[in-house]
Amino acid sequence: MFISSRFKRTELAEPGGKGNFPPKLLIFPQFLSRLPPFLFLITSLSPEPNPSIPVFRSNFITCFPSVSLPFRSVFPFAASTLQQFTGAVAKMVTAAVENQESDMVEGNEQKPKNIVSDGFDANYLKIYYGKLFPHADFFKWMSYGNDGKHPGSDQSYFGRREFSFTLDNDIYLRFQSFNSLSEMENSIKEKCPFKIDIGPVYSVDPAKRHAYAGDNVFTPVERELVFDIDMTDYDDVRYCCSGADVCLDCWPLMTAAIKVIDTTLRDDFGFNHILWVFSGRRGVHCWVCDGKARRLSNEQRAAIAEYFHLYQGNESSRKKISLTGPVLHPFLARSYIEVLKDSFESQLLCSQKIFSTEERYEKILDMIHDESITSELRGRWQDNRRPSKNDVNSVRWEQLKNMLQSGKHKAKGTRRHVEEIVFSFTYPRLDLEVTKHMNHLLKAPFCVHPKTGRICVPIDPEHCDEFDPTTVPTVAQLLEELNAADMEVDSETDWDRTSLGESIRFFRSSFLQPLLKSCKEEIESSHNLKVQQSKNSLSW
């Protein structure tokens, strides 16, 4: 029997009612008159072991007027315990897989037909967070060595970090904070967010920010230096897909961006603890976690963003990138020689068929401000009907290069156009605002992308050429693997038996362990310094 996901939800939600979840929705009319129409005040009693001291929490929840609030569907499994549940769903998933061929239930119109292999289902999240999501590693990372074991560690550190949850129906819970691993883990498992975003570490616990209102006490004090690269920003230089789609033909753009930025962050800025993460669909995120990076001011962040920024022109200017001056800055020269040139010539040139049609090569000729060159090339390319055994793109690129770099035109400064074209088609395009400000939220690694169901797995920058966004495990695939494996084994290492294992092992060995080691050293040395100082002051 095929069980539609909708049906499962309702059934699983039945045991509810014992806990104090789902939350009550309180709408205060007097608030509504002043607040925008889509801000409601939702208060909830969070589940609490001792019912006599309920913790009262209030959250501003952004939800939108066009969306009604079916709380059943928002918190479908609120009260069911994990054990009951994971077993149940896992079995159902198996059943569904086995029967997917024969059973098609009508009335299931908008759900994907093939529920395991096709992407995302809210039900999977519960199991994913319950069995696979690396809560402990995540907590260790975000604590940065402030685990209470060392006298110099800052006990309040983790608790001052903002997390933001996006629930079903675009309900945002901002300013979530947790004082311990178990608090965080329970909250994630209970709320089952579609998306977890990480914000800055604030001066005070963000959940208590209202207590400090007005005094500017509540300000961000630390935040990883982050970068967000999105394939949609490359739409004018990729011809294989557009918008949200990516394929192996355009992914080299991301690979080039990773290489350029990673090398620069390490060699130029001297950062060491850098985590690259697949954003789940069409881009990558970068987290620079060195202590120095986390404490940068907005101004310093902006300086880094500008260091990377090349003026790309806008819709009304002819040129896309202009490189002025007699030479390139060492950083741009290195990026060109080590990454961009090769990426353009051996990958994108042919995979994107950059010179294949008139419209496409005109776009490139447009960047060359020399009538005599462009008309000659245009002439050759328009007449060129002879089939050549070489790829037309490579042939035309060689012709263009020869023309621009020949002695005849050297004096006119046209040589630089070759580099400009390569930069226009390959240079990383950053969302600058994300990098510039401490308080921008960014999706956490190991989240599940709600549209594709793919896990936001780390990418190894040293082997980023091998990364294939189309084979990143989806949550459905992981659950299937989990099902296939023996259920009896210790649940701590469930992930190890799925294809997520490799990602988590990489996260630990290449990122987390070296990071924590240097955090400990930093805490140790600043503690020693403090002790020394207090000794000195005592001796007087």
Binding site: P36, F38, F64, P65, S66, D170, D233, D236, D267, D268, F269, G270, F271, K292, L296, E299, Q300, A302, A303, I304, E306, Y307, H309, Y311, Q312, G313, N314, E315, S316, S317, R318, K319, K320, G325, P326, V327, L328, H329, P330, F331, L332, A333, R429
Partner: protein
């Protein structure tokens, strides 16, 4: 007239050793009330001159000349010994004037930092050393071996900016890059493993950064003092002067117009054609064409329309009418309506945001897919010519405009456009898109009246 006694003392300092003060503490001087105001106005002339120069897109060398000239004409006292006092007094008066809102602080901070920068550059090496020492800057000269190791890269950077190529005895300093964000942002230095290699010449950047951060802190302190005590204490004496000083020079605030609410949606098409400056006309047309604008465009046009007099409800209706054709009404309500209400001070911090002035628009950096910015700066020549042709600028004026554009006088180019279209001169120049709009409406109205 009663003298102003900041600290109740009446001594006059004569021990000022440098001609480039860091304004660490208020001077223990007696100041005549009229000097209080006159000195401040003189300094304002300098700062305003710098601000104008920037908005005209002046290059750094031109600015250097300009700042020196402004300083010498306005800040020299008949008695040379009084120069330093005038400098210090005027700075502290303006600190009081410009501490009162975020926007004022930001402007003052930028202009004072630029002023400091240029004065530092021509201060002479003795004063420079003194200032550097006073600021406690953490830099170390690099050794010869280290220099040889990175020489190629240093040469590359030096050539990039047309500086003399460093030789064996060139002195370079190594500083943590965090100390020189400006130089990093402009890729003006070689960076390696977290250190920036800077020349003596670039030390000015270090000094300016320190100066700026110190002044920024001082301004917030002054602001606290001003709101808590001074404003009330000096209600009858200094407060009126202080409050008058800033408005007299910043130009009108276009967020609160007298004509507020005069414009309705149905008039927009017509007035866009007749009275919008090119930057806004372009955005307006693109919006009508694509039914979408990216964030920068929405901000620039949205705030301008607010200044023109489009009320919040009308603004929501207007943007919705366009966007819903592309993204649907539901997504508009969800993703875009908030920021429009935000612009009108109905969300978040509830600040009634002011429309962007030319300087801000010129210095914006529109990217792929963006339509905002200043067309005179950001358009290619062909596109600009086509756009101006469409506005009805004749060929001869076109060449004049292109000439201004090439010399980076974007606001003058805009002024010429205004003059060409309206057929009369605009002596004040264009400083703000909303000023363009209002002036244009005035001209059109008077024309209508005379024909009627």
């Amino acid at each position: 007239m009663e003298p102003y006694r900041p600290q109740g003392k009446s001594s006059i300092t004569t021990s000022s050793t440098t001609n480039l003060p860091l304004y660490r503490s208020a001077p223990p001087l007696e100041v005549k009330l009229e000097d209080f105001e006159l000195y401040a106005i003189d300094r304002l002339r300098v700062l305003k001159g710098i601000s104008d120069g920037l908005s005209r897109g002046k290059k750094s060398e031109e600015m250097e000349e300009r700042v020196r000239e402004l300083w010498n004409t306005n800040m020299k006292h008949p008695q040379a010994s009084e120069d330093v006092n005038k400098d210090i007094i005027s700075h502290f008066v303006l600190r009081l004037v410009y501490c009162r809102t975020e926007e004022l602080r930001k402007w003052f901070l930028s202009m004072e930092t630029i002023l400091f920068r240029h004065r530092f550059l021509y201060a002479g090496s003795e004063s420079q050393k003194q200032v550097v020492a006073e600021l406690g800057l953490p830099y170390k000269p690099i050794s010869y071996a280290e220099f040889e190791a990175v020489k190629d890269k240093l040469v590359q950077v030096a050539r990039l900016f047309g500086l003399t190529v460093p030789s064996g005895d060139a002195i370079y300093y190594k500083v943590p890059w965090e100390e020189v964000p400006e130089l990093v942002a402009g890729r003006r230095i070689f960076l390696h493993k977290g250190y920036a290699y800077i020349t003596m010449y670039q030390v000015v950047s270090l000094a300016a950064t320190q100066f700026r951060s110190y002044l920024s802190k001082a301004l917030s302190l002054t602001n606290r003092k001003w709101t808590s005590t001074i404003r009330e204490q000096e209600k009858n004496r200094l407060t009126p002067i202080v409050e008058a000083l800033c408005t007299s020079y910043l130009g009108p605030d276009y967020s609160q117009l007298r004509e507020y609410g005069d414009v309705s949606i149905k008039d927009l098409d017509q007035i866009a054609k007749s009275s919008f400056p090119l930057c806004m006309r372009h955005l307006f047309e693109k919006l009508k064409e694509d039914h979408h604008l990216k964030h920068g465009g929405r901000m620039q046009l949205g705030l301008f329309l607010k200044g023109v007099g489009l009320k919040l409800d009308d603004a929501l209706a207007f943007w919705k009418a366009e966007f819903s054709q592309r993204v649907g009404a539901e997504r508009f309500d969800k993703e875009y309506a908030y920021s429009i209400r935000h612009n009108y001070g109905k969300e978040g911090k509830r600040v009634d945001y002011s429309p962007y002035c030319c300087q801000k628009i010129i210095s914006s950096s529109p990217s792929v897919g963006d339509h905002h910015g200043c067309p005179y700066r950001h358009f290619s020549e062909d596109n600009l010519r086509a756009a101006l042709g469409k506005m009805g600028v004749n060929n001869r004026t076109m060449d004049d405009i292109m000439d201004k554009v090439r010399n980076r006088h974007y606001q003058l180019a805009c002024t010429l456009t205004f003059e060409s279209i309206h057929g009369l001169s605009c002596d004040a120049g264009i400083n703000h898109p909303n000023q363009y709009f209002i002036d244009s409406q005035k001209v059109l109205q008077s024309k209508n009246n005379s024909t009627a």
